[in-house]
Amino acid sequence: MPVNGRYGDLAAFLSERGDALLRTAVLLAPGRESGEDLLQEALERMLRKWPRVQGDPEGYLRRIMYHRAVDGWRLRSRRPEVLGLPEDSAAFTAGDHSDRLDLRLVLIQALAGLTPRQRAAVVARHWEQLSEAETAAALGCSVSAVKAATSRGLRTLREAIAPEAEYLPYLTERGNA
């Protein structure tokens, strides 16, 4: 267990960066509950080595999350996750295509259909905006493997999201409003 001061630093760090980390975890897991589990496990693992963690803990924590996401951290079975509606779902359901606009659910389900490495590569490249080299370092694989995983992952995502994609402008405009 970390000493008092360092632990306090961790709490302060999480209050500032916890939301961003959880968002990445939700995409990696994928799902809200699974994401919380992934982040919690990554935190627990970091706590084991907390006294030896030097510098910015965010990179260390993210690396743990990516590694765990790829190497099958959730081997134990769990029931399929039912994703809740977004907070502003009432606004969505007021539209003409209310029954088809939960792209959030679509995306989570599509991400779940990817292999762990494809999912991690897509999240790293298109959510975290990491370069191919940075993604390779985070996943512990080669750049060519990142390219292949990203390409295949994106193709699978496109196919899964395509039926809903015509509503994307609507969703994007509402989100930007």
Binding site: Y7, V26, L27, E44, R48, L154, L168, P169, Y170
Partner: protein, 334 residues
Amino acid sequence: MTTFSGGPRDQDPANGISSIMAKTVADVRLSAGLLDRAVARNRRRTARNRLIGATSTVAVVAAAAALVFSLPGGNVPGGTGNSTAHQGQPVPKMQTAAYILAHASAAQANSRTMISVTHAINGTMYTDVATQQQRYIAGIRASNGQPYFEWSDIIKDGTWTETMVVNQGRVYSVQTASGSDTGSIGAFLPLQAQSNPVAAFNTALKQGLVKVVGHQELGGRDTVLLRVNRGVTQCKKAGYPATAKGNCANGEPASTQPPPDGEVWIDASTYLVVQTKNYKPNPTAVKGPWLSFTTTVNWLPSTPANMANLSTTPPRGYAKIPSTGMVKYLGPIS
């Protein structure tokens, strides 16, 4: 097949997916209890490793050892065969492997209806094997002579509740979580959770991890002493144990200096583990590369009176604080 076609700002499919990702997680916020749960799980893991983990591991291997304890008096091919304590005494039955295995298995099965009480220098842990309900009492003392801190975990109706009391600071905290958060507690005896424990024991035997030394009197009790190679190899950098297969956790090759074998004493009549002695890498290496830890184990029936030992009640007058604040009081000893 329908092709992806995003809106004006989403002509690039990848950008479109980035946009959906942003919308998907826009309302995601970190819950306040996440760090608490990670800290609690880490604390339980640490406590378990210190007090129970070694015991549970060797307890299972002890059962495995019973398989090779096939000769009268405890002699075993390849072992030291030191069974002088029983020389000249009648052997009631031929202690075949099957005989020993049956008793070892029964001991493990019976332990599910019992409470284990492990004592080590760090403190005392009560564990109800069946429910994994636990109570830990620190060995270190507060200024008023009471245990510095104690905590208990109760799992009831799918809810995990941990109550921690720090006598030194006269504070306590209570936190709860869904039952799923208790998954890491695991079984007290790891191999007991295997679908075929006997096969797992046999595997451990084939790996040569156990030697049966023979009978030894321990506190007036007839026990069987085992030596257990836990498959840990010292690494060049202190504090980095490695598996027997290869590299250290930090990627460096393991050194050739093996740790001393762990020792396990099992009761000669009940086959339950009663004491263990294990070694862990010394982070400072001031007193050598290994530190020894001795843990004694007592077994109690799960009577209401004994189950009462598993509860922690905050004394009157103590202040209730958030669990995150506990570190302020535990920091000096954590």
